[in-house]
Subunit: 198 residues, 2 copies
DNA sequence: GTCTATAAATGGATAGAC
DNA sequence: GTCTATCCATTTATAGAC
C-alpha cells in the first residue's frame, strides 16, 4: 500500500469516532454540534464529512459497532451446560463488558430515540438478539427446575436492567473492586430467579 | 377572586408544562425547541416566557416537582415494621408510581445531564433522599437477619435499577397486568436480598 | 395574555482554495 | 485531507403592538 505523505487520514477517522462517542455520552447527541466534535479532534467542521455522511450516520455507526461487538464477544464465551453457571457467566460478562465501555453503553441505551426509524429498527434488532441469549438461559434453567420463573421475558428484562444499572454508579478505584461488583451482582441475579415458587 | 375575561392564563401554564414533559420525554430536552412546545400548546413561542424564565428553568421545574411529589408520596405510605413487608411495599409503590408517570420518570433519569450544575445538585440531593429510604429498609432488614446483604448501598442501587427498568417495556393492556408486574418484581427484589450468605 | 417581528447566536452541511 | 468561507435554516430570547 502506498504511503500517504503529509496525511493523517488513517488516524483521523477513529479520532472523530472517539470524540463523538465521548461527547455524545457526556452531553447527548442533540446537544453536541459537529463543530464541537471537530474541535475535540483538532480539525475544522467541514473535514468531518470526509469520514461520515452526516451526524445521524455517525451516531448509527457508533451504536451498530457497539452492539455488533457486544454480540460477537458474548458468542465467543466458552459454553457450559449448567444453567446457574451460565447465568453467573452472563452476569459477569455483562458487567465487565459494560464497565469497560461506559460511553458506548450509555449511548446505546440513551440515544435510541435519536435514531432515524430505519436505524432504530436495526439497533433494536441487535438488542433483542442479546436479550434472547439471556432469556434462553433462564428458560432452559426453568425447564430443568433450577430456576423459578413466572415469566422468562420479564425476568430477562429485569435482570438486564439491574446489571446495566452498575454503570450508573461504579467508579474505578472506589470502595468495591470490579471483581467484587461482578460477584455481588451475579449473586443477586442468581437469587432473584431462585428459591421457592410464589 | 376576580374573573379574568378573555384570558386562559390559569390553564396555559399547566398546558405548557404538560407539553414540555411529553416532548422532552419523547425527543430529549436538547432536541425539543421552544417553538415545538408552543405549537403543541397552541400559542406562539414568545408567550412561553410569561410562564418560565427560560428553557432550563422549565426542565428544572418539571424534574423538581416530580422528585418532590415522589418523596412526599413515599413518606405518606403507611408504616410497617417487618422488613420483608417494607421491601414489598416499596417495590410495589415504586413500580406503580413510575408506571403512572412514565414521562416524568423518564426525564428524571435521562435529563440529569441537561441540568445546569446548580440545578443538577438540587435534583441529585432529592434523588439521594429517595435512595436512602430503600437503603434503610435493607440495612434494618439485614441487621434483623431477614436480608442477606454484602453491601446495602450497592443492593439499593441494584434494586432501584431493576424496578425502574419496568418502564422500558411495560405497556398498558399487554400480556401482564400492572398488578402482575408489581407482584413479580417485588418477589424478585425480595429474593435478590434473601437466601444463604455467599 | 398573546401576537408579530426581530435580534443575535448557533446549527448542519457544502464549495472551493490550497 | 484539511482549511476558510459561506449558505441557509433554526435556535433562544426579547421588544413592542394589540
Amino acid at each position: 500500500m502506498a504511503r500517504k505523505i503529509g496525511s493523517s487520514s488513517e488516524i483521523t477517522g477513529p479520532r472523530i469516532r472517539d470524540a463523538a462517542l465521548r461527547l455524545f455520552a457526556r452531553h447527548g447527541f442533540a446537544a453536541v454540534s459537529m463543530r464541537q466534535i471537530a474541535a475535540e479532534v483538532g480539525v475544522q467542521a467541514g473535514a468531518l464529512y470526509l469520514y461520515t455522511a452526516d451526524k445521524q450516520a455517525l451516531l448509527f455507526d457508533l451504536m451498530q459497532d457497539h452492539m455488533t461487538d457486544l454480540l460477537c464477544t458474548l458468542q465467543a464465551l466458552p459454553q457450559c451446560s449448567d444453567p446457574a453457571a451460565q447465568l453467573d457467566q452472563f452476569a459477569r460478562f455483562h458487567i465487565g463488558y459494560h464497565l469497560d465501555r461506559p460511553d458506548a453503553v450509555f449511548i446505546a441505551y440513551m440515544e435510541l430515540r435519536s435514531l432515524s426509524p430505519e436505524n432504530f429498527a436495526a439497533i433494536e434488532s441487535l438488542r433483542r438478539r442479546y436479550e434472547t441469549h439471556l432469556q434462553e438461559i433462564l428458560s432452559e434453567g426453568a425447564a430443568k427446575g433450577v430456576f423459578t420463573l413466572s415469566d422468562a421475558k420479564m425476568a430477562t428484562l429485569a435482570l438486564i436492567a439491574m446489571l446495566t444499572g452498575v454503570t450508573n454508579w461504579y467508579r474505578e478505584g472506589g470502595r468495591l473492586s470490579r471483581s467484587d461488583v461482578q460477584t455481588l451482582y451475579a449473586d443477586m441475579a442468581l437469587r432473584a430467579v431462585s428459591g421457592p415458587p410464589i
